[in-house]
């Protein structure tokens, strides 16, 4: 059974057709890169996958259920695009807060938080208030909170924003490690080079419609094309402006 099933899903926000008849699935243990320019409908799709928005048409199934149901969401880890967390908490307190929301016992939170804080390289800063964190540190805190309850599916919205090159390498290693553990990763990004290195498959969205979806080697490896070239060819000159911006 596929971990994520999106079937003929459409969503209109205000006067804009944010997502139009999108059909996509993600298999267990797969890393899917969800690509597109700004306003392509990536974040709207992610919000529907989290049950935060209801599709106008079509069906969404995550881990075999409706993501609006709390039991389904307890198996999803989510990291938002803009990682601004509670500025008056430190990282320990933040993880205890999110762990409490997941219904984790304090001892379990303590042990898991300790491992994750070290894993994301924030051991020295874990006692500091989050308002003193840099953007990259907040991104890493975001990864820790997303992984806290050991989810089966990880949904990451622009996770590489603000990360320095070293942190990107660590992030890439972390995603590959999660894949080895059999976790499914669905991540949206503008970072085509990173997507190329991490993803098993990519799906490219243009104005709410899926224009390309396939295995990385099939769409980018053929004829010496890299993903950036495929992206430009598929999305045209408008996308080129978007990428350069």
């Amino acid at each position: 059974m596929d971990t994520v099933v999106i079937q003929n899903v459409s969503k209109r926000l205000g006067g804009t057709q944010a997502v139009n008849n999108l059909t996509l699935s993600v298999q267990p243990g797969e890393v899917l890169g969800f690509l597109g320019t700004n306003g392509a409908g990536k974040t709207t799709t992610i919000k529907m996958l989290l049950g935060l928005l209801t599709p106008d048409a079509g069906v969404i199934s995550v881990l075999g259920g409706d993501p609006a149901v709390a039991a389904v969401r307890s198996r999803i880890g989510y990291m938002p695009e803009t990682a601004t967390y509670y500025p008056y908490l430190n990282l320990h307190e933040l993880l205890f807060f999110y762990g409490g929301l997941c219904g984790m016992p304090r001892a379990a939170i303590r042990s898991r938080a300790g491992i994750l804080i070290e894993r994301v390289g924030l051991g020295a800063a874990a006692g500091r208030l989050l308002r003193t964190y840099s953007k990259g540190m907040l991104q890493r805190a975001g990864i820790a909170q997303a992984l806290l309850h050991d989810p089966d599916l990880l949904i990451l919205d622009e996770p590489l924003t603000g990360l320095d090159p070293l942190a990107r390498i660590h992030f890439r290693d972390l995603i590959l490690e999660l894949r080895e553990q059999g976790k499914t990763v669905f991540f949206s990004s503008h970072e085509l080079t990173e997507a190329e290195l991490i993803c098993d498959r990519v799906a490219i969205l243009k104005q709410g419609e899926l224009v390309v979806c396939g295995a990385m080697h099939a769409i980018a490896g053929d004829g010496g094309q890299n993903l950036e070239r495929v992206f430009l060819n598929v999305l045209g000159s408008d996308a080129a402006k978007g990428v350069l911006a």
């Binding site: 926000l13 307890s74 938002p80 929301l101 219904g103 909170q145």
Partner: protein, 260 residues
Amino acid sequence: MKQWLLQVSALSKLSVLELYRRKDLAVVFLLAMIILLPLAFLAPFGVSGASRYVSELAMLLIWLFSIIIGLGVSVRLFPPEFESRTIYPLLAKPVGRGTVLFGKYLGALSASVSAVSVFYLAYAVLVGVRQGEWFAPVLFQAALLHVGFLIVITALTLLGSLVMTPSAALTLCALTAVGMLAFGQRLPSLAAAQTGPGRWVLLAIHWIAPHLEFFDVRQRLVHAWPCVEWRVCTAVLAYAVCYAGLCLALAGWAFRRKRL
């Protein structure tokens, strides 16, 4: 049930922790202490029997500060979540919107009640020093009814912050609190004296606005009158819980309809 309690506890702890770390409660508390404590040792106008005026002034300040705290705390529960987008990772966790609302409300109420308890403690010390009376049942009742006031005002402000801008909610709730404390009891007689639409407006306010004057027993405290009958006190607290419940139900409806 255990998971729900863990979630509510985590949410309310977050609200309390954030509010205390922001230090604005500490500022209000310090200000109150600076004003209240010297009153314990003053002899206003050189009149030895003027302690009643000192008590009245102290109670007025306690009510004023409690309005500032109750409103200030609850108006900031949700808008920053939307502005900083922390609402997304929050609702992506296995927690219902109703639980989020209730947990945050409990946090705001706990923070307000704890701050007001300290004010009442300071007032008790003030009265003890001036009058030698260290415990009065009427003081306990006044504090209890003040908690009832906070139960209503925090729920009302929370509702306001979900259906309008924070500044509009703050203004409207402050006007409601001050207006109802000052004129709530006189609304029916004021309405009876009016003709035309004014009468209906006053009657509508009388039926819709929370009767916050029910919770104000300052005069009994100041004039050392006996307690209100305890069954009346219980009924007033039940009214507070029902009114707050209605506000929270409406807030829950508004929160569910809010576009994310």
